[in-house]
Symmetry: C2
C-alpha cells in the first residue's frame, strides 16, 4: 500500500440537516466545502424549507425522496442523525466525509483554521498501520517516521478505510457525563493521528468522520436505535454501534482505522439533564455490546463488507437478541440495509 | 483502581552513565531531579572517574560493585545501555524512572519546561484503560473524560505498570532510517497520553520510561544483545525486546501501559552511517520477534511477573532458538535475570 492521490470529484460531503436552516453552518464552512459536492439530507421529522446559501454544488433529499427510493416502510430508519445514511446509500463517490451541522471549523494551537476535509483526505490517502503500534503516531504524517524496532515488513501498511475526527469545545460525552460535568469542555488540541490497533475497539462518533465507501460503505449503517432517543448526540449510540461494526470489518478484511485529527468545533445544543430524564438506556446496553464486538470472529467466507455485515447481523440476533429486543431489531435493520445497498447499487 | 498518590521517597531515578562526566546532564535536570533519590550506574566498559555535581541525593555503582554483587560471570550483561538494569535490580522503591544521559528537559508548545518526572508519576498514579480505546486519549488527564459509548464497567480502569515517554529533536529511529534521513528531527509535540490497547504490541524505547517495580520490575530485563551493537541507541533493540516482554506480562496480569507525554529533548550523538557498516541485524530479527510476541499466550499458572518471564523464556528457546543463537542466549539471560532478581530480593 503506497500513498494514493484523491481528486476533489471523488469525494461527497454528506450533511444531515437536523435544523432546516443551514445558512450559518455552510457560511462557516464555505472556504473548505465549496470545492466539493455536497449531499444534504433533510431529517424526515423536520418541518420547514431547507435554507442553503448560494455558491455550493449540492443535491438535497427530503422525506419524499427517501420514500420514493426505498418505499415508506423503511423511512423510519433515516430519522434524526440517521438521515445521513441515506446520503451514504446514494453517493457514487469513492470517499464520503460527514460532519454534524452543529460543528464549525476548529482552530489549531497556532490559531489557524483547520481544513478538516483535507486532513480527512490525508488520513484516507496514506496507509494505516494496525498491526503494530507506532509510538510516534501516524508515521505517514509530515515529519514523522517509524520508530526503532518497527518491523520493516509492516511499514508499507494497509489501506485506511475510516478516518475518525475529534471535537473541541463540547466533547462527545454521554448524557450522564455531560449532566454531571456541565462545565466540562475539551480544550486540548492533540496534534496527532494514529491507527487504532487491530482487535482494539473504540467508540466511533459519527460527528466528524470520513471513509472509503468502496471498501467499507455497507458497514457504515443505521441500525441501532434506542427507543427513547431524540435529536441530541448524547441520547444516541447508533454511531458507536456502527463504529464497532466497521472496526470488526476492517480487522477482518485487513484495512485500517485512524483517529485523531481533524478537529471540529462543536457548538452547544440541548440540555443534558433533560435528556437524562428519558431513562437513557445506551449506557446499560454498551455493557453487552462491547464484549460482543470484542469477541466477534468472522469466517473466511466473508470477503466483502456486505458479507461481513450479514455475518455480524446473524451473530447479533443469536447472541444478543435474547437480552433485549433492540438487538433483534438492529440485526434485522442490518440485513435490510445490505439489501438496500445492493438494490441501489444495481439500480444506479 | 482509583488514583493513588506517590511520595517522592517511593521513586528511584536510575541513570546509566555512558559517559563518565554527568555534570552538564545533571545541571540541566537539577530542578526536576533534586527532590528524588538517584541510582547512577557506570557503564562497566567506560574509563575515567564519574563526575557528579553537588546537591544530589544519589548512590553510584561501578564495575567493581556489579562484580561483587552478582559475580564476574554475569558482568557482561550490564554493559552499555544495559547497565541501568543493575539499578533496577538494586532499587528498593516501588517506582523507577530512567532517562538516557543524552537527554535534557523538553519544552512544551508554550515554551514551558516539561517536568518529565511529575508527568511519569501522573501516568503511573492514574488508571490505564487497555480494554477499550478512548478517542479523547487518557480520560484521567486534566480536562478529559470518557467518550460517549465507553462502557461504564471499564471506566475504573486498571493499574498502570509502565509509562513510556517520547523524544523531541532526535527521534528514536533505527540506524537505517537515521542514515537515510539524516535531517529528520521530531518537532511535533503531541499533547497526549494514551493507553496502548491490550494485545497490541509497540516498540518500547528505554530512553525515557517509568514503571511500577513491584508489579512488573522482573520483566524490565536485559537479555537481547546483538552481536555487533555499540553505544548508540540505534544499534540496539534490547529495550524493544524488553518492551514486548513487559507488554505481554501486562496484558496477562491485567495491567496497563501508557505512552505519550512526557517528552525529553534528545541531543545529537553518534554517526548513523558508521553504525550501518556493522551489518546491523536488529532490523532482520524484528521480523521474527514481533509475530512471536503478538501470538504469545501465557498460562493461568503464571501469576507474577517472574512466572511470566520464565514462561516467555521457555517459548523463546523453543520457538525462536532454532532461528538464531541470539534468541537462545536471550532466553538463558531471562532465566538468569529472574534468579538474580529473586536472590537480590531475598538478600536485602
Amino acid at each position: 500500500m503506497s500513498q494514493v492521490s484523491i481528486r476533489d470529484d471523488e469525494v461527497d460531503i454528506v450533511i444531515a440537516a437536523i435544523e432546516p436552516d443551514l445558512t450559518s453552518f455552510l457560511e462557516e464552512w464555505r472556504a473548505i466545502f465549496s470545492r466539493f459536492h455536497l449531499i444534504i439530507i433533510k431529517d424526515p421529522d423536520v418541518k420547514g424549507e431547507l435554507k442553503i446559501p448560494g455558491g455550493f454544488n449540492y443535491d438535497t433529499y427530503t422525506k419524499a425522496d427517501i420514500q420514493q427510493i426505498i418505499g415508506p416502510s423503511n423511512a423510519a430508519t433515516f430519522s434524526g442523525y440517521s438521515c445521513r445514511y441515506f446520503g451514504y446509500l446514494l453517493s457514487k463517490k469513492k470517499y464520503i466525509i460527514s460532519i454534524d451541522d452543529d460543528c464549525i471549523p476548529a482552530k489549531d494551537t497556532k490559531g489557524i483554521q483547520v481544513d478538516a476535509i483535507s486532513q480527512h483526505i490525508n488520513n484516507l490517502s496514506t496507509p494505516a498501520t494496525p498491526f503494530f503500534f507506532n509510538t510516534l503516531y501516524d508515521p505517514f504524517c509530515k515529519g514523522a517516521d517509524f520508530v526503532r524496532g518497527y518491523p520493516f515488513s509492516l511499514r508499507s501498511g494497509v489501506s485506511c478505510a475510516l478516518s475518525c475526527g475529534l471535537w473541541l469545545n463540547l466533547a462527545d460525552l454521554d448524557a450522564p457525563t455531560q449532566a454531571l460535568k456541565p462545565e466540562l469542555r475539551n480544550t486540548r488540541y492533540v496534534d496527532a493521528v494514529l491507527t487504532v490497533p487491530a482487535r482494539a475497539m473504540m467508540p466511533l462518533s459519527g460527528i466528524n468522520i470520513a471513509f472509503d465507501r468502496e471498501l467499507v460503505g455497507p458497514a457504515l449503517l443505521p441500525s441501532f436505535k434506542l427507543a427513547k432517543e431524540g435529536k441530541f448526540r448524547w441520547e444516541t449510540v447508533e454511531d458507536v454501534w456502527t463504529g464497532m461494526c466497521v472496526k470488526v470489518v476492517c480487522d477482518h478484511l485487513g484495512y485500517g482505522v485512524k483517529t485523531g485529527l481533524p478537529y471540529v468545533w462543536r457548538k452547544e445544543r440541548g440540555d443534558a439533564i433533560e435528556s437524562l430524564k428519558k431513562e437513557w438506556e445506551g449506557v446499560k446496553l454498551m455493557e453487552e455490546v462491547v464484549p460482543f464486538f470484542q469477541s466477534m470472529k468472522l469466517t473466511p467466507a466473508a470477503k466483502t463488507a456486505e458479507d461481513c455485515v450479514i455475518e455480524i447481523a446473524a451473530a447479533v440476533k443469536e447472541q444478543l437478541g435474547r437480552i433485549d429486543p433492540v438487538f433483534t431489531r438492529a440485526a434485522d435493520s442490518m440485513v435490510e440495509w445490505v439489501q438496500l445497498w445492493k438494490t441501489v447499487k444495481t439500480r444506479t
